[in-house]
Symmetry: none
Subunit: 160 residues, 2 copies
DNA sequence: TTCTATTGACCATCTTTGACTATTATAGCG
DNA sequence: CGCTATAATAGTCAAAGATGGTCAATAGAA
């Protein structure tokens, strides 16, 4: 028997057959399926996570929304997931810089973007006791990695 | 539906495409959008702050008005310093995001770059067991600001 | 039993409104 | 002419409204 979660999953995927992204109201969707709103989060977490090839953006408050973006598997499938795992909870500057160079070589970021990313993860930027630096760097870097992929999907890069 | 606040913001920005300033009646505008007059103040406070690059002047009483002026720091040689001073040793997310929008509106960064910067200074990125979030954010942000200016100088932006 | 799904209580964020306050111009009065 | 009352504006701030997020408890399926 089709689970509620499966129905919701298919419903969302149907919405995405045309476009690589879809925007919806969490509460509306929950109401449509007669379930708790948090059920939607469960579906997103279990079927639309980064390792499933999706990125979620959302906003609260009046006019809030949940946006689901499907990543294109360009080159290695699920490169973002691989990179996020590589970074984990702690990463040193050298590794971060290497990953950034790699993204540049794949032409996934511009020179400027790469430079910005290096600026954000540099020793300089993270004025903290050494032990904590790598942890903070990982957090900042992970966030930026996700953004790189969102940029690619959303065609925000008009450049190069 | 597009948020009321967003509509008002765009309405005002449309009025400003020609001129660097616009003058309006708070009550008239509120009536035009069928909302409470204080809604206008909310939009001004959240989208036209000094950090966003605007200055608001107003006058009460008969013949009162609200004037919105876009600051022209075009070619301001010291903009980087001004921004670095503004950021200082500690900056909250709201301010950082406002400055990033400002840079975007001045076309000093691309959409992607702006998004990357937001990712780096977001709550999310700094969700750590560290109390001094604003201090860290300031350090990361300062570094990125310097990089934005370097990017501009080095003409690394082949885009737009 | 063990893994997955569902729910609900509580939290976070963003927007909109309204009551109350502050300021300014102007008409009327002495 | 100077003063005051009134009308016409705009500002502030706290509460209510509108969304979405998290997490732990519970229920259901394998």
């Amino acid at each position: 028997m089709a689970q509620l979660s499966d129905s919701i999953e298919h419903f969302i995927k149907d919405l995405m057959t045309e476009d690589a992204h879809v925007e919806l109201r969490r509460n509306e969707l929950a109401q449509h399926f007669g379930c708790a709103p948090s059920q939607i989060n469960y579906v997103l977490a279990t079927r639309f996570s980064v390792d499933h090839g999706y990125i979620i953006e959302s906003r609260r408050g009046g006019g809030g929304y949940v946006r689901i973006v499907r990543m294109q598997t360009r080159g290695e499938p699920n490169l973002l997931n691989i990179l996020l795992n590589r970074v984990g909870n702690s990463v040193d500057e050298e590794t971060a810089v290497a990953i950034i160079s790699n993204l540049r070589e794949r032409d996934m970021v511009t020179d400027s973007e790469a430079a910005l990313m290096r600026a954000a993860v540099s020793r300089n930027a993270l004025a903290l006791p050494i032990s904590a630096k790598d942890v903070l760097r990982a957090a900042v870097f992970r966030n930026m990695l996700v953004q790189v992929f969102k940029n690619l999907e959303e065609g925000k890069r008009h450049d190069v």
